[in-house]
Amino acid sequence: MKKVIYVDNNATTKVAPEVFEAMKPFLTDEYGNPSSMHTFGGKVAKYIEQAREAIADLLGASDPSEIIFTSGGTESDNTAIMSTLRSYPDKKHIITTKVEHSAVLNLCHYLETIGYRVTYLGVNSEGLIDINELKSAIDQDTAVISIMYANNETGVIFPIEEIAEIARIRGVVFHTDAVQAVGKIPFKLTELPVDLLSLSGHKLHAPKGIGALYVRKGTRFTPLVIGGHQEHGRRGGTENVAGIVGLGVACQLAKQAMGEERTRIKALRDKLERAILEKIPHTRINGHPQYRLPNTTNIGFEFIEGEAILLMLDEKGICASSGSACTSGSLTPSHVLKAMGVPFTFIQGSIRFSLSRYNSEEDIDYIIKNLPPIIARLREISPYGKERVS
């Protein structure tokens, strides 16, 4: 098989072998419904509760009952925002940012069409919001503030502690889409006044189709998915038992990897970044150099286009992603990079490398060896960058 260097872990991750092993019984012999009266089904419920505890533990939450299982990040985001709006029916204002994931952004666009008012906070060239802008955006009508913990494209980490504190003082519910952050950096929700927090399984080596929403005790909640009594009536639908068990194990593994592994991944990311900046001219890092996830780097290559870079990398078995227009089919480049004001000569040629604990030093060396000739070749084909940038 062709060599595969997977450095697109912000898109999705490999299911950890331990996770897969833990899930297997629930896809074969242990297929019971946890809501059943008989022992065969009922005994499954305890594994769900164990998983809930593991997630609460990774998040540093005070009680496992604060965790609701969902189908993934998008459902968690939708649940958090819709639940809050329904719980405060008189308030019609939402605050978010221009750089959110589409799970939040497109929901907000939709809410605008049915009578809600949305403030989209801008970001500076390093991808960070202006706290004063946030403060002045809050008014009597504000129902919810939803700001991502870390950006998926650039890895930029927002000052969530400060934001959450402002929301708390002003009495506004605060939701954070932490899909990219959970499992990559430590959390202690007992000390972080976040009301609602979304996470997704497949970003931390659990499978796709499972996620969770943290709902702090005391937060008003109205379910989005209405059905059976599952999750204490907060999310209808028979539990995705195998997925839940997998997510639990993935959270345990993530907690174990939070120390040395995290340092190792960051060192690899830094090595990759340094080598690229050093070996390839006309290159820049998009995003704040310090306030960033340890696994992510978004690098702009001037004068060339991202899709072409990705396909050339693909030829070498390297899997990365790009915010260029051509890759999305939308014709316009990434809304995140545009909001940051990344220069137009760089924006189309921006590539994201996102690492995981399954990446080795050899992977990074392989990229460092193969990337420069690709960039050079595409610049040869490009009409720009030869003293003739028009």
Binding site: T332, F344, Y384
Partner: protein, 285 residues
């Protein structure tokens, strides 16, 4: 992920004719870095024969933009200017074994660069200038009404989405979509009136007898043979003004598709050959 043809992949991985001809006889430049793609085409042309001796390109853009540019240079080498001028974006897309819909604008860019180069050879400046009468419709990608109408015409485009695929217009902020919609509507309405409708033979009003025999003839010639081929048959029961009553026989009896046959075959043939007002009804016993 895009699913590119083998030809696109091949020409992207190993593009032919990359570079720039020194002291070229013609230069064509289209697009710009903000729009996300740009192409610079340089040509060596034999002044006596007007034959394109060599063509080179430089492209900023995705895989399909690079492949389209490379294809273009391969297609025009050895052709005379007049021959090359007949190449359309469709020809480029065909040469590439097709392009994903969202990437058709890459082939349009190739055609435009060629046109700009030919115009340049004939004395125009090498950058395509927007002439006074054109109007920029899509501000995000600087697409003019002229370019949109041309794409509509040459590629038989019917929806705003198709226009975006071919020209990029409307693919940015999307504010110009209503205007594109308007251009589409205007264009196709104009086409409709332009259409030379085949002169309809002035139909003499048929007498009742003529009408009945024409219906019978049409059933015999156009309808019955088709039904018989499937083991069925039809019987003409009665005619009352525009209403024709028929009965299905043979395998048509109890066939769940008779409703469709009645409309799609019997009624449509009678409308075609006898009178557009005819309605056919099935009599079941």
């Amino acid at each position: 992920m895009w699913f590119y043809s083998e030809k696109v992949k091949e020409l992207f991985k190993n593009p032919k004719n990359v570079g720039e001809i020194e002291n070229p006889d013609a230069v064509g430049e289209v697009g710009n870095i903000i729009c996300g793609d740009a192409l610079r085409l340089t040509l060596r042309i034999d002044k006596k024969t007007n034959k394109i001796l060599d063509a080179k390109f430089q492209t900023f853009g995705c895989a399909s933009a690079i492949a389209s540019s490379s294809a273009l240079t391969e297609m025009i080498k050895g052709k005379t200017i007049d021959e090359a001028a007949r190449i359309t974006n469709k020809d480029i897309a065909e040469y590439l074994g097709g392009l994903p819909n969202e990437k058709m604008h890459c082939s349009v860019m190739g055609m435009e660069a060629l046109e700009a180069a030919i115009a340049n050879y004939r004395g125009a400046p090498f950058k395509k200038e927007t002439v006074g009468e054109e109007k920029i419709v899509c501000k995000c990608f600087s697409v003019t009404d002229k370019k949109i109408i041309r794409a509509i015409k040459e590629n038989n485009l019917r929806t705003v989405e198709e226009v975006t695929n071919f020209t990029k217009a409307g693919g940015g902020c999307g504010k110009c979509k209503p205007e594109i919609e308007k251009l589409l509507k205007e264009f196709w309405e104009k086409e409709e009136t332009k259409k030379v409708h085949p002169k309809e033979p002035i139909k003499k009003k048929l007498t009742n007898l003529q009408r009945i025999s024409l219906i019978q003839e049409t059933i015999e010639r156009e309808i019955r043979p088709q039904l018989k081929a499937d083991g069925g048959d039809i019987e003409l029961l009665d005619i009352e003004g525009n209403k024709v009553y028929v009965k299905f026989l043979g395998t048509c009896l109890g066939c769940p598709a008779t409703g469709v046959t009645l409309k799609a075959l019997v009624e449509s043939k009678l409308k075609e050959f006898v009178d557009t007002d005819i309605r056919v009804e099935e009599v079941k016993e």
